[in-house]
């Protein structure tokens, strides 16, 4: 079963990379890009058939390793 974990910097944490991408888009002539936030997308393939169990396991993995709760938040999606 595939599970996707989206990891993003928390609101309020400065995202210098997102800001650099925003500036580059402006340089390319894309107007009106007010904010860019850059995150990570992690796809897991779990040997698991029960979506709720898969979600719980991915959540535990995100808490322990995939995201750093000090600066990041995450969202688990069972695909």
């Amino acid at each position: 079963m595939k599970v996707r974990v989206d990891v993003m910097l928390k609101a309020g944490v400065l995202d210098p990379q997102g800001e650099a991408v925003r500036a580059a888009l402006g340089n390319l002539g894309f107007e009106g890009v007010e904010k860019v936030r850059q995150g990570k997308l992690i796809e897991l393939e779990l040997a698991e058939d029960d979506p709720e169990v898969a979600r719980a396991r991915a959540t535990e993995m995100a808490d322990k390793l995939l995201a750093n709760a000090v600066i990041e938040s995450y969202r688990v999606t069972v695909l």
């Binding site: 944490v13 400065l14 210098p16 990379q17 390793l65 995939l66 750093n68 000090v70 600066i71």
Partner: protein, 222 residues
């Protein structure tokens, strides 16, 4: 004083750190990250700079889950001394031994330069060789040295006198100009700049020597 230096795949300051400790008079053991225990009778565990595990996922995140890191955390929890420099600081925040996180430099550039710092009054043996307010120069070499903690934690760190070093001229966007912080018991230091790269005249400066000498002279057994 007996120090253990942890070596991860991608560590690159481990031998410099060994030389810095040995010149100050310490006995040093190198410990590979797959070892699940530290040598007997270790006073200080040091986590060196480098790019452990290629900085994959987040700097220090994979190293913090290595077998030896569980021993490192136990050593710290029972009152042992720990020094984490650069990538070592990132590893210590990832283990939760120190608060906060180190993110990409505000200017997005890898910074490799001599950096003026101010020693703060943290009441720890790590800064005992310096006077509070003293200016020292240690090299920095990092891409992810931008220290971040929330406003409440920052107030707590300041209130408890746990900021050990600040940047005189903040190069990377760190909150409160913080370059290094200590744990509540003052026995764990995480520091982004490299004191071990300032222990020989050939390095261009020797301001780091006082840290290693104070550690060798002043450690209390855990």
């Amino acid at each position: 004083m007996r120090a253990a230096i942890i070596v991860f795949p991608g560590s690159n300051c481990d031998r410099d750190l060994k030389v810095a400790f040995e010149r100050a008079g310490a006995q040093v053991s190198m410990v590979w990250h797959k070892d699940d225990h530290l040598p007997e009778g270790i006073d200080m565990v040091a986590v060196p700079g480098g790019f452990s595990f290629g900085d994959y996922l987040r700097c220090g995140a994979i190293a913090a889950q290595s077998p030896v890191s569980a021993s490192l955390v136990r050593h710290a929890r029972r009152g042992g001394y720990v020094l984490g420099i650069c990538n070592g600081f990132q590893v210590l925040t990832e283990t939760g031994l120190l608060p906060g996180a180190l993110i990409r430099n505000a200017g997005l550039k890898f910074l490799c330069q001599d950096e003026p710092l101010v020693v703060r009054d943290s009441g720890s043996v790590f800064t005992q060789g310096y006077a509070p307010g003293q200016r020292v120069t240690f090299p920095i070499a990092h891409h992810d040295g931008n220290y971040q903690v929330g406003p409440e934690k920052l107030a707590e760190l300041r209130g408890e006198g746990r900021v050990a070093f600040t940047y005189a001229d903040n190069p990377n966007g760190s909150v409160g100009d913080i370059a290094g912080v200590v744990s509540r018991n003052r026995r764990v230091l995480g520091l982004m700049p490299h004191p071990e790269r300032a222990v020989d005249a050939a390095h261009g400066g020797t301001d780091g020597q006082a840290m290693f000498s104070a550690l060798v002279a002043g450690l209390v057994a855990a």
